[in-house]
Amino acid sequence: MRRRALALVVVAACLGVVLVAADEIQVTTLVREGRVLVSFRLTNGFSEETLAAIHSGLPTSITYDVALRKGVPIWFDRTLASVTVTVSAQYDNLTRRHQLSRAIDGRVEEVRSEENEEAVRAWMTTFVRLPLFATASLEPNGEYYVRVEARTRPRTAWFFWPWDHGSTAGFARFTYIP
């Protein structure tokens, strides 16, 4: 028995179990015109460390992994589609302006310059009705959920766990009714 418990502890450590804080990303979904519109907001992604990184001029980015999944009983949930939304900001201490960019799956969607810090924060953490997924592959009356996981760069930890995938996440369930 002791050996099993020890093995479980070792396995858990090796797998790098990550504690997911609940409700750090508020996610809402809306199905409209054949698309799943995803809105999400990172509630506490702008820590003091992130702000300090931005003010230091370091390119700071927040990568959101948005996945549309379907639950599978007694097995791993099936990912139907996934999208990566990356927002980055670089502050110029000389001009006191932030250079912002937003990319979806590597394609730059928008570039802008901003002085206001609050505007920068809002621009990097709030996303409204992004048309990320199509409903063609969804089953009517099927139960689905959208999971959003956010990673911030640069990381400021002492040591990087090789299996570290994200620090915050959130999800929202919905039933597809065509």
């Binding site: 990184a53 230091s56 001029g57 000389l94 006191r96 640069p154 002492w158 040591f159 766990w161």
Partner: protein
């Protein structure tokens, strides 16, 4: 000596070991070089990629170290539990080596980590913060101020142009309105745009631009056009910095020109020039501030990078030192373990067990010496085994000879008595005991003088003494003893035994019963005498008888007195001659006994037939017969046996003075393979002293007879391979027993 193995396991291959060490050193050197170069890498790259790689490498090496340690520790524990040889010594050695490796490494790691952290902390201090922050503030404020001034100038120009119509026909007035700004170096360049369309897509048309002569080339209208369009569309960012190819930067600001009713009819884009040197200096100050601030932000991961470097180097050293320590411990204990196991194998008797030397150093020499010792032990053992086998064989042979000699001594008819150097009897064989009438067990160990103290044995004692006293090997002597009333003749010879160097070891007396030989010699002598007598005497008898018969016939007609005298004398002469002839015939018969003609004969029937002759002959003699029913046929000469039986019966009747009982019986002894014929009487018997003489020729107890009867009987029985013995009958009388082989 076993040959060194040509195929070593990988862990013992010096080439591979050296390659592993070189690889480890190369990795260490690469790590240290990369650590030295890390200062040139951006913190972001260091903290993002390098730290990640180092983390993985550190984890991998930790796992490897853990695996190596765990494996060896578990192995040591198992070996100790199973009490394998040298397990404790090896555990101590490994513990010592690991302790000498791990403890200093951990201490260095802890101290070094603390030093790194402290050093990194020292990078960031208040004065440096203040200096760089102030410098950045100065540069940034200057930029802000210049940008604000350009913005103000643009707005002032926009207000000045508001009343004017922004048409191409009014370009002169517009230029005049903006000229003072440029000529007075308020701004370096002014560009006026007329709004063609506002929403949804803003479109502007350049109308007037006026630039100072001192404005360096390299700027483009496109950036002003975009800026004007954005200003018209209401997008933020009213000013922009445009770097020039010749160095320096152009600060551009926009201001909308509002016409009547507040509608935007045009856009003023004012530009001011920052010299390259100024811009560069400001940028450097900001860059320095940003670099410092970024380091502060990435302080922890940077510290982690250096700690990871340090940890990786330490782990490399630890892995290498641990492995080397374990390897050395194994190299030290393995040959000793092998020697210990080999010693046990040798002790268990497996002398062919050898240990393979793995090294050429002192341990290898020890192993070689052990193998040599084992080889010599093996050779000695084989020699010992051969000697043992040889000894066993010789012992077996000696035992065989002893048994052979004992068997011979027990079986032979020759008496053997041995006496040791102290004069005590050591050996008395069965024949000697029988012939001398001694008890073998009682005599063994007694002094010869006591064993042979009996009067009849004293001649033998004298023989021993004579041999013991020396004087060479005496000749065989004939000694006569009287045993149970019979005379026994022995041919004895005593020989002194001498060991190596001539030391006396005792005496051996050997004697044979030559009584039958003597008897046979006597019989042969008598036979020869009888033959000669018969031949010499028989010849003149016939002439004598014929002469007497002639005289009788001659004097048949003589006067009666002469006739009677001659008749009496002739009769006497003829009668005596007849008697002499009969005597001579008996002698001749004794001398020339014919060989028996044997046929299978029913003894009982033969005896009945022979005894039938006595029917009615002696009325006072009763003859009783007891014949064995299972008596088989015996190969005998019936005539000779008949003569024997008749002779014995005649003697018995004569001995009983023709009155008494004669018993005749037969018996079968299948064990000895003989048929017995017994003739017994109840006469006076025969004295023991007389018994042996009975069978001698010309010996008789009767008043008449030739004395050859029993001699002839004995000769006949002897010719048949049998024997005849005389003994006492019970309760009285004599019993003659004949044994014939069947």
């Amino acid at each position: 000596m076993p040959e060194r193995r040509s195929h070593r396991p990988l862990r013992d291959n010096p080439v591979l070991i050296l390659a592993g060490i070189l690889l480890l050193l190369a990795a260490l050197a690469a790590t240290l070089t990369f650590a030295n170069l890390s200062a040139r890498l951006s913190p972001d790259f260091l903290t993002e990629f390098v730290l990640y790689a180092l983390s993985i490498a550190d984890l991998t090496m930790l796992v490897a170290l853990f695996f190596v340690l765990a494996r060896n520790i578990v192995k040591l524990v198992v070996e100790r539990r199973h009490a394998l040889p040298f397990a404790r010594f090896r555990a101590k050695l490994v513990t010592l080596l690991l302790g000498m490796t791990v403890i200093p490494a951990v201490l260095v790691l802890l101290v070094g980590s603390d030093v790194i952290r402290t050093s990194v902390e020292r990078w960031f201090n208040a004065p440096m913060d203040e200096i760089l922050s102030s410098a950045n503030t100065i540069a940034s404020d200057y930029y802000q101020e210049r940008q604000q001034r350009v913005t103000d100038r643009a707005q002032r120009i926009a207000r000045a142009l508001a009343p004017l119509e922004l048409t191409e026909g009014n370009v002169g007035a517009i230029q005049e309105a903006i000229r003072p700004e440029v000529s007075q170096h308020q701004v370096m360049m002014v560009e006026i745009y007329r709004v063609v369309s506002a929403a949804p897509r803003a479109e502007v048309q350049p109308l007037v631009d006026l630039a100072s002569a001192s404005l360096p080339a390299g700027y483009t209208r496109a950036s002003a056009d975009r800026l004007a369009e954005r200003a018209v569309s209401g997008t933020a960012e009213p000013r922009v910095l445009e770097p020039l190819g010749s160095g320096g930067e152009l600060i551009r600001a926009t201001a909308p020109i509002r016409g009547a009713g507040g509608r935007v009819v045009g856009v003023v884009v004012a530009s001011d020039y920052l010299t390259g040197e100024l811009a560069a200096r400001a940028r450097r100050m900001t860059d320095a501030y940003e670099a410092y601030t970024q380091l502060r932000v990435l302080k922890r991961p940077l510290t982690g990078v250096y700690l990871s470097f340090f940890l990786m180097v330490t782990l490399m050293i630890l892995v290498g030192a641990t492995w080397m320590g374990l390897y050395l411990a194994k190299r030290i204990t393995r040959p000793i373990q092998a020697l210990s196991a080999a010693a046990r194998e040798i002790g268990a008797g497996h002398l062919d067990h050898r240990v393979e030397p793995e090294t050429a150093d002192e341990l290898g020499s020890l192993v070689d010496a052990f193998n040599t010792m084992a080889a010599e032990l093996s050779a000695s053992r084989r020699k010992l085994e051969r000697s043992t086998i040889d000894l066993q064989r010789k012992h077996h042979e000696a035992e065989g000879r002893r048994r052979y000699i004992e068997t011979i001594l027990e079986r032979i008819a020759t008496g053997v008595v041995s006496v040791d150097a102290s004069g005590r009897v050591t050996t008395v064989n069965a024949a000697a005991a029988r012939l001398l009438g001694l008890d073998e067990e009682a005599v063994a160990g007694q002094p010869a003088s006591v064993a042979f103290s009996r009067a009849d044995l004293q001649p033998l004692g004298a023989l021993f003494q004579g041999a013991t006293n020396g004087g060479g090997e005496p000749p065989a002597q004939e000694i006569a003893l009287v045993r149970e009333g019979r005379e026994v003749h022995l041919a004895a010879v005593a020989t002194a035994l001498h060991g190596e160097g001539g030391t006396p070891e005792g005496t051996v007396l050997v004697f044979d019963d030559i009584t039958p030989l003597i008897r046979a010699q006597k019989v042969a002598a008598w036979r020869e005498v009888a033959r000669r007598l018969a031949h010499e005497i028989k010849n003149p008898l016939t002439p004598i008888q014929l002469s007497a018969e002639r005289l009788r016939r001659h004097f048949a007609t003589a006067p009666a007195a002469t006739h009677n005298l001659v008749e009496e004398c002739a009769t006497t002469i003829v009668g005596e001659v007849e008697s002499l002839k009969a005597l001579v015939d008996e002698f001749s018969q004794f001398a020339r006994m014919p060989a028996p003609r044997r046929v299978a004969t029913d003894l009982s029937a033969l005896l009945k037939e022979s005894l039938a002759l006595y029917n009615g002959l002696f009325p006072d003699v009763r003859i009783e017969c007891t014949f064995a029913p299972d008596l088989p046929a015996v190969h005998v000469d019936p005539e000779q046996i008949r003569r024997v039986v008749i002779n014995l019966v005649d003697n018995a009747i004569e001995a009983m003075e023709r009155k008494g009982l004669v018993l005749i019986g037969t018996q079968h002894d299948p064990t000895n393979g003989v048929a017995r014929i017994a003739v017994a009487d109840n006469g006076p018997g025969i004295l023991p002293a007389e018994r042996e003489k009975l069978f001698l020729p010309y010996y008789s107890t009767k008043r008449r007879g030739s004395g050859l009867g029993l001699a002839i009987v004995r000769r006949i029985i002897a010719e048949h391979g049998g024997s005849i013995e005389v003994g006492d009958n019970v309760p009285r009388g004599t019993r003659m027993t004949i044994e014939l082989p069947c």
